[in-house]
């Protein structure tokens, strides 16, 4: 039976030596019995044929090759180490990138059936918003035919315990949040639809696994414990499961019921406000309903909403669905992400190719040094194919080691990157089968790339003749091999691209950090008191802020105060789009007159707001003026151009407050209207250190109304956060560029030096024939100029193309950089010259007679 047969084969393999010995004894006995005179035949061949019965020849030979390869690699540790290291680097980089892509882009969030889960944004011709008023979500919940469940979330931080500064991230959710996403509790229970929505249900909170482990010391009796949230009592009903994902990557520590939000924020009108944008809407589609079908079916619902509340909803609005399968990203974001991914992916692939070119050279040199060995093997009867195969196996071994190293390096890199970019904790970066497959694929690919061609090249030589010559031969054949020169060229090209891109990224970042942003934020503190949450609205809110400003304003270290509807560089933005300037996204801000001076945004023409201005006054930024009107002379014109309902009273300099360095955004400022005071933030510019203002600001907020627990921070922190990823990316790019440069120099050095060493004999001949040292050197260097030049040309062209692509969103890098390719050229040329000179001088020093010895 087949199983038995394989078992027997394995048994043979394990006791191979013994069986072979026994066979030899058996045949010796046979010979004896036959009598010495008779022929027995080629005993060795007999043994081999017998062996073939047990294991197929190629398997046996493969094992032999493996053992031989391992021994060879072990005997040349420097070569092996160098090769494995640079291969690990190339593979690891690709793996790290792939894993990041995998986790952030390709993997849908780990919830139940992400394909049937969608999120909804409000879309209309003039605005988009991902926030829907809470009463509208309830209306949609009860007036649709295509959704089997509706989930909502909203809210922000809360205060935990008795300490007012102990703020935690919290999320208010609908009662079906956990069950719909498919997660239960690690301890206790999660929210339950129906029971927890009753008006007399106790205030319930679910804590995150992380919070339970750290703040609550992982005690098992937390369920049922009473805690204070926003200074209100609540009962812990359970601990969320470890790794419970958050759909918006805010990493909340607590979950509370949206239904009970007014218990923790008394006086808030969250649940009744129709004009707010405070809730995120998710839903599970009924079986068989596609997102597009849901969008169509919900048009009727939105139409009803428009009839009910014509002030807040327009009849042409739609609810735009985003599938959970794509991570709730819209097609535009998805495409952008993929573009970025593709770009970075190509860069890492280029690195890999450079690495492989390098390795190829290394291996080729290594192989040529062993030509004598191959010659001997060929003389002993090894077929060409066998020798090539042995080389391949050796390279495969190298590649496997490199892949292993790459996997480790890649995983380690990803962990570091994840920690640096504050990726939410629940994203799991553990290598999965996809990454392992990628590792194997890359290893195989690189083996073919660097291993096959040298092996083939070696096999083409007349190996026996090599033995005769003792390993030193003229430079014909291999040295003239166009292949090696091509390798130099491709290395140079690849490194050029990498260097150019890296240089661009670094320069772009420099420009960002040191250039004029259009506003000054280093000394500014921001406070968010959210009076609306406490039921303070309209005139009461205005009075509240007046009180707060008065108490802070008397401090000598406060230079200026201003209220604003949004925090510059903050998270929540309200954008408008205008048909007259369709290319731009316009930040819509409501500010006090002192805002411009506080943020140091100069007013180019016109004036700032005055108390007499009402909502009809507007100040627009320079870019918006040019885009919409084509001129800078816009004072007094109606705004927006086609349907003017406001008048422009001033034009400000560009100050991209929502996205640093962006070129397709503009700003628009209006005065704060009567109802707007409930939603504004307070900005304060300090004369000295802005940190000193934080506590007094919070105290003032509390003093003006004892219920209010405000949040205060520095604008600088937000800026740093925003830039952190980009800074990191530039750093990484810089490091990669430098590494690529050194790799290229290393490779060029190796190839050139070896090539020159190979031509020792030729140099000897030339010298014997009367050539002087200078002309020999000139000849050598001249031949190198061609491949390096070609490589530079291709590399620069490709690099410029890459730079042009990177000049667009979302990188906004400067598109021309002459310095970097020039530096690269100098480096490469220098390296090549040194690489040629060192062995050349040695060759020139050799006695011509010795060089001619084998003629």
């Amino acid at each position: 039976m087949i199983l038995g047969e394989w078992a027997r084969r394995v048994w043979y393999l394990m006791h191979r030596r013994r069986f072979e010995r026994e066979l030899a004894e058996e045949m010796a006995a046979h010979r004896e019995m036959m009598g010495e005179r008779q022929q027995f035949g080629n005993a060795l061949r007999l043994r081999e044929e017998s062996r073939d019965a047990w294991i197929s020849r190629w398997l046996d030979e493969a094992f032999q090759d493996l053992r031989h390869g391992a021994r060879t690699l072990w005997r040349t540790p420097t070569f092996t180490l160098a090769a494995v290291l640079i291969l690990s680097f190339g593979i690891g980089l690709n793996l790290a990138f792939f894993q990041l892509l995998n986790v952030r882009v390709l993997r849908p969030p780990r919830v139940r059936n992400p394909e049937t889960l969608v999120s909804f944004d409000r879309h209309s011709k003039t605005f988009r918003s991902n926030g829907i008023p809470y009463p509208a979500t309830q209306f949609i919940r009860h007036h649709n035919s295509v959704l089997s469940a509706v989930l909502t979330s909203g809210g922000g931080g809360v205060v935990w315990g008795d300490d007012a500064s102990d703020r935690l991230g919290a999320l208010y959710v609908s009662a079906n949040w956990f069950t719909e996403l498919g997660y239960g509790a690690a301890l206790g229970r999660v929210f339950v639809e129906g029971t927890d929505e009753r008006p007399d249900a106790p205030s319930a909170v679910v804590v995150s696994h992380e919070l339970w482990r750290t703040r609550l010391q992982g005690e098992s009796d937390v369920v049922g414990r009473s805690v204070r949230i926003n200074d209100r009592p609540a009962t812990i009903i359970g601990v969320a499961a470890k790794g419970f994902p958050d759909l918006e990557q805010h990493d909340p520590q607590l979950w509370l019921l949206l239904h009970q939000i007014d218990r923790f924020n008394p006086g808030t009108d969250f649940k009744e406000a129709w004009g707010a944008h405070n809730t995120q809407l998710y839903a599970r589609l009924r079986p068989g309903i596609t997102p597009a079908a849901a969008k169509d079916a919900l048009r009727a619902t939105v139409g009803e909403l428009a009839r009910l509340r014509p002030a807040e909803f327009r009849p042409d609005e739609t609810l735009e669905p985003y599938s959970g399968h794509d991570g709730f990203r819209g097609p535009r974001d998805h495409k952008e992400l993929l573009t970025v991914a593709l770009l970075i992916g190509s860069l890492t692939l280029v690195v890999l190719m450079v690495v492989c070119a390098n390795l190829s050279n290394l291996i080729l040199s290594h192989a040529i040094a062993r030509l004598r060995e191959f010659g001997v093997r060929a003389a002993l009867g090894a077929s060409r194919r066998r020798i090539v195969r042995q080389q391949l196996v050796e390279n495969l071994l190298l590649a496997s080691l490199g892949a292993l190293g790459g996997l480790l390096l890649g995983y380690w890199c990803v962990r570091i990157l994840a920690a640096q970019t504050s990726t939410p904790r629940y994203l799991d970066f553990a290598p999965d089968w996809r990454m392992a497959t990628a590792a194997c694929a890359i290893a195989l690919f690189s083996t073919l790339l660097f291993g096959l061609i040298p092996a083939w090249m070696v096999s083409r030589r007349d190996l026996v003749a090599v033995v005769k010559e003792g390993g030193h031969q003229t430079s014909r054949g291999l040295a003239r091999a166009r292949f090696r020169l091509m390798l130099i060229a491709s290395e140079v090209a690849g490194c050029c691209v990498l260097l150019i891109v890296a240089g661009l990224m670094v320069r772009g970042l420099q420009r960002l950090l040191m250039s004029d942003l259009g506003f000054e934020f280093e000394q500014v503190a921001v406070m968010d008191a959210s009076p609306r949450q406490y039921g303070i609205r309209g005139e009461a809110a205005r009075a509240y802020w007046d009180e707060v400003k008065r108490s802070i304003g008397v401090r000598p270290d406060v230079e200026r105060l201003a209220l604003a509807s949004q925090a510059p560089l903050g998270e929540s933005v309200s954008e408008s789009m205008y048909n007259d300037a369709s290319r731009l996204r316009v930040t819509n801000m409501h500010v006090e007159p002192s805002f411009f001076q506080l943020m140091r945004i100069p007013l180019l023409t016109g004036r700032t707001f005055q108390p007499s201005d009402d909502h009809r006054a507007v100040i627009i930024s320079r870019r918006l003026a040019i885009e919409m009107y084509g001129t800078l002379d816009v004072l007094g014109k109606g705004f927006p151009k086609s349907k003017p309902d406001r008048t422009i009273i001033g034009m400000s300099a560009d100050a991209p407050l929502i996205e640093v360095g962006a070129t397709t955004v503009a700003e628009q400022y209006s005065p704060i209207d009567r109802d707007g005071y409930a939603d504004v933030l307070l900005l304060a510019r300090a004369r000295g250190n802005p940190e000193a203002l934080l506590t007094p600001m919070r105290a003032a907020a509390r003093a003006a109304d004892s219920r209010i627990l405000a949040r205060a921070g520095l604008m600088k922190t937000d800026f740093d956060e925003r830039l952190r990823t980009r800074r990191l990316a530039s750093l990484v790019a810089g490091v990669i560029g430098l590494l690529a440069l050194s790799l290229a120099c290393f490779g060029i050095f190796g190839v050139v030096a070896y090539g020159v060493a190979m031509r020792t004999k030729e140099i000897g001949i030339r010298r014997a024939l009367g050539a002087d040292a200078a002309s020999v050197v000139r000849l050598l260097l001249g031949q190198l100029a061609f491949p390096i030049g070609i490589g530079m040309l291709f590399g620069t062209v490709a690099g410029v193309a890459a730079g042009w692509m990177l000049a667009r969103a979302p990188f906004y890098l400067p598109s021309t950089d002459v310095a970097t390719p020039a530096v690269a050229l100098v480096f490469f040329a220098l390296t090549a010259i040194i690489a040629a000179l060192v062995p050349a001088s040695r060759a020139l020093g050799t006695e011509p007679l010795q060089a001619l010895r084998h003629e």
Binding site: E5, E26, M27, E32, N42, S50, R51, A53, W54
Partner: protein, 109 residues
Amino acid sequence: MPRDVGLPPCTLNLIILRVLRAGPLHGYAIARRIQHLSKDELQVEEGSLYPALQRLLVKGCVKADWTVSDTGRKVRVYRLTASGRKQLDTELAEFRRSTWAIESLIETA
């Protein structure tokens, strides 16, 4: 002089198994037995015998053990296994069928 007639390779297995049906033998004895039973018509070379024996070992048709022969020499004796017996029957039937087919062809064509 007995020559080695070119045997089709499958029949070698058949012959060896058939010879072993009578009882276990060591390698040299198998060769001698074949030569003897075929009246010196068939002489199996060592180059064919031992590889064939190894293949039979892989397939599990025979088992081999070391014993001491009557002359006191250490020899390896091959014996037929149960699956070997089955294999023998199958191959015998196959062989008879094909020879009958070839014979009737020669007779009638």
